[in-house]
Each structure stands twice: as C-alpha cells, then as structure tokens.
C-alpha cells in the first residue's frame, strides 16, 4: 500500500471526518517538536546574526545597539585582514579538499582489494575522524614542535632538511603545516564514502570489460570513475561545509598566528567577537563568509550536477 492511500481516510464507519482530520494533522503534530525547536535554536539565531551585522554592537557597551546599515560590510571590504583571511580561506579550501579527495580515493581503492587484514585496516582507518579536534591540534603541535618534534627529527634523518624548522612559528610554513593536519583529519571520511560507492558497482562490469580486453586504466576511467562520481560529489559537498567549520583546529594550533599567517574568515569572525567583543563586525564577517560559501556551493552543484549527468 502506498502512502498516498494511507493518508486519505478510508474507514467505512461513520467517524470518517474526524479520523480524516486527525490523519491530516498527525504528521504535522509529529513533526512540530523538532521543527519548533530548530526554528528557535537555529533559524532565529541566524536571523539575529544578520540583524547584529547591521548594528554597531560591542559587548562591553551592551546598551549601545546602533543601527549602522551596511557600514560593517563596508568596513570589512576596506579591512586588510579581511582580504588576507579571504586569501587564506581560498588556499585552505582549495588544497585541503582535493588532497583529502585524492588520498581518500587511493585508500578506498586499496580497501576494495582483497587482502587478509582488510577488516582491521577498514576499522582503523577512520580513527582520525573520531578524535576531538582539540586533541588533533594538540598532537600535531607536539609533532611540529621546533625543538623536540618528531617531524623535524624524521626529516633531518632522511636528510630532507638541514636544520630544525619551527613549522608553526614560521609564517611561510604555518599554513601548509595546518593544511597537512586537516588533510590527515579528513581523508578517512572520503575513503569510507568512496568505498561504499565502489562496492555498489557490479562486478560483472569489470568482467565484461576484461573480456573486451580493456586495460586497468581504461576500466578505472570508464567504469570506476562514473560509478563513484555521485558519491564523490556528495562527499565533496559535505566536506566543503565541514572544512569551513573546522577552524577549531587552527584556533588551537596557532590562534591565527604567527601574525595573520593562518587567519581564515570564520576564524577572523570568531576572534573579532571573542577577543575584541565586537559582535557587530564579527557577525558581518560571518554573514559574508556564509554568502561566499553558499555561492561556491551553488556553483559547485550546478557544475558537478552537469558533469555527473
């Protein structure tokens, strides 16, 4: 029985109108607690952010809430740190996500091969995903430590560097070091998603291609890639949003420093509000970042949607 027939009353007895009404109301009644709560704790605050961004609102002067229109946004566009943060945000997203995707794809392909300890590998590979971001930041700060860090020791022994590098204290290497950490944190997610996609491709496709004499590369290009493109698209989308939120790792590792070397837009908005208590300006940056992110998501969905079809 389909739900179309279920939602319409079909009781033979006389109480039809009442039961029909209750059936029509029931789904809304069941939904209302969740909808009302999310309206109150998600949508209302979001509107409030937009509202705050149009005001001069500094928390240590809580009684001043002056309407300034788009002044905060104009201030942002003239703010050098805003542009630095935007540049880092672009670099950060444009390197982290492809790196995670490629490493995740390679891992998924490997995990899809039969080998004796596959279940163990499959379970262990996702561990970074389950770790608190603070702990991730902590252990990578220790790894990058300029005096006793294992990264320096490892590279020194291999002869790749001549002397210890202060990875997180040097403005030239700090952003790259953080990108490596974020890649480490996020690639297992891609591996798991893509693996699920790989397993949904029927084996017979490969058998047929092998009979026709297709090389491994051609099989990958014509069977594997089209088979997982949908999953990859979803994974990249989820990741885009997720990476945008993962500034907590940066916040703990460097706090945006040295100087402004690892500032990104969400971090800048957060720091503005947290340390300067400038909630009006912080909100404006948060709104700008959200709009930019939405723009990227929309363009991405259009492009990727076409490519997948």
């Amino acid at each position: 029985m389909t739900d179309a027939t279920m939602t319409h009353a079909q009781t033979p007895d006389g109480s039809l109108p009442r039961r029909a009404l209750s059936r029509r109301v029931l789904p809304y009644a069941m939904l209302s607690p969740a909808v009302i709560v999310t309206l109150a704790i998600v949508f209302l605050p979001m509107v409030q952010t937009a509202w705050m961004s149009l005001h001069d609102y500094v928390l240590f002067r809580p009684n001043d809430f002056d309407w300034v229109g788009l002044e905060n946004f104009r201030r942002a566009l003239g703010d050098e740190v805003f542009w630095i943060s935007l540049g880092h945000t672009v670099i950060w997203m444009a390197t982290t996500i492809p790196a995670q995707l490629l490493l995740g794809l390679a891992t998924a392909m490997l995990l899809n091969q039969p080998f004796p300890w596959r279940p163990v590998a499959r379970a262990l590979i996702i561990i970074p995903w389950a770790l608190p971001s603070v702990v991730i930041a902590l252990m990578w700060v220790w790894i990058y430590d300029s005096n006793y860090g294992v990264a320096n020791e490892f590279l020194l022994r291999l002869g790749l560097i001549r002397q210890a590098v202060p990875w997180l204290a040097d403005p030239d290497t700090a952003l790259a070091a953080i990108i490596l950490t974020l890649t480490w944190q996020g690639f297992p997610f891609f591996a798991v998603m893509i693996l699920a996609g790989l397993q949904s491709i029927p084996k017979s496709y490969y058998e047929a291609a092998a009979i026709d004499g297709a090389s491994a590369w051609r099989q990958f290009w014509h069977i594997t890639l089209p088979g997982i493109s949908g999953v990859m698209m979803t994974a990249v989308l989820l990741r885009l949003i997720w990476v945008a939120n993962s500034f907590d790792v940066i916040f703990v590792m460097t706090g945006g420093g040295p100087g402004y070397a690892t500032y990104t837009l969400p971090l800048y908005a957060f720091v503005k509000a947290r340390t300067n208590l400038d909630f009006g300006y912080g909100s404006a940056i948060a709104v700008l970042f959200t709009l930019l992110l939405m723009g990227v998501v929309v363009v991405y969905l259009r492009r990727a949607g076409k490519a997948v079809q």
């Binding site: 590979i125 389950a130 902590l138």
Partner: protein, 277 residues
Amino acid sequence: MALRRPSALRRILTVDLPMAAILAFTLGPYLWMFLTSVSDQDTLFTEGPSIWNATFENYARLFDTVGFGSNLLDSLIVACGTVAVGLSLSVTAAYAFSRFNFPGKRLLMLQFLLINMFPLVLLILPLFVLFRVLGLLDTHAALIIANSTVAIPFSIWMMVSYMNGIPRSLDEAAMTDGCTRLQALFRVVLPLCLPGIIATGIYIFITSWNEYLYALTLGGRNVRTITVAVQTLIGEYEVQWGLLTAGGIVGALPATVLFLLVQKRLISGLTQGAVKG
C-alpha cells in the same frame, strides 16, 4: 573467464604495502601521542619517548593535580543530555517523514538538510548573546542546546534512513490489530530500528563529546568540558608534553572506543543516502 587473480607477491607490493603506509600515516600521530604520554617527564627531552620503562605517572597527575575527573563528568553530562534531546525530538519527526505524504514535506525535509549547511560561526555569536540574556551562560543546558543544533537534524536524517528500511506492512498489521499510529511507532517500528537508534545516539554522543568551540564560548568556567580542559592544559603546561599528551589520550579515548564499536552500522547508515541519491 573471470578476473585474473594476481600473485601473492604482486598483491603485497601493490596492496598491502601502500595500505600499510597509509595506515602508518593515519595511526602514527596517535601512537606517538600515546608513547609520549607513558614516557617519564624527566627523560622525555633527553632520550625521547620510549615504550621501555613505561609509566602512568602522567595520568595519575592528570587526575590528582589538574582535576580531570570533574571535566570528564561535565563532558558526560553534556553529551548524554544532547543524546536525549536529539533522539527524543527526532523519533516522531523521522517517522512522519518516513511514513506519510503531506503538503510541505519536501520543504520541511530540505529545511533539516539546510541547517547543516550553515557555518558554525553564524550561530555561535547569537547563541552567546541569547544565553547571556537568559542567564544560561556557563551551564550544562547552554551546551546541550548548542550541540542540539547539529544533533537534531543529523539524527532525523539518520533515522529516516533506518525507518525506511522497515516495511510499512508491519505498521499496517499492527494497526489492523487495534494499535493507534503512535502505538505502532513505539511498539513495532522503534524496537525494530533500535540498533540504528543506538548507533545514531552514539554518534551524537561522540560529536558532543568532541565539540570544542561552543564549549569554549558558552561554557568554560563552572562547566568545563574535557576539550576545553585539554586546550587549557596546552596554555598552562606548555612544555610538559607527557602531561599534555596524557590529557589528549584521556580526552580522545571514550569517543575512539565507542566509534570502533559502532562504526560498521554507522557508516552503512551514513553512506546509504549518498550512494542511492
């Protein structure tokens, strides 16, 4: 003519070795952290971390002098509270999405998907202002509410996919036998998707346990969760890496263990939507 089976040697070179390298990259930092945490503070910088003469002194100090116990309790309260709120609000909503057709269904479902699309910074500032007005700052309730902003849409999404896996004919059979809709939900459907609900609950628990930015901004003094405590350690005990890494291990352990327990079911629930849609 099936696919050719590659020889064992070739398999080791092309599959086992690369896989082992990737796993070493994945687990290396974690193991290194553990190794540091069981090393003696005095010899850590002279001899480096070592597994020989391992000591649990750092862990003892963590609970005796730093007071990690109360932080663990705070994290536990917040995480369990979020699980309770997230699951209880989403059960009926997920059932409605899974079993009924009604005007506005697509729009409402889209709404719950969209919530997850907004960056966290957009929410953290107004929630701070809101809780300040309500006097909720630095309470467990504040952190539970903040974590629920992520937990509710997520658990609705997961539970719809679990409930779709349970045949509608079961509800109908129950209702023919005289159950009401709600009875059918609570007596028939819920017990059947219990494993899925448990997995969802555990995932919510893990994300709330790991959450840091809300915990820092909306709590921090009276209610100090484990993540904030670990971050404070970094500031206070800058060079005592034995102690710091012990804190990291303790903070990460509950989530890691729980995750390994439920990862199979969780991943199938998470990826189902992506693979099909």
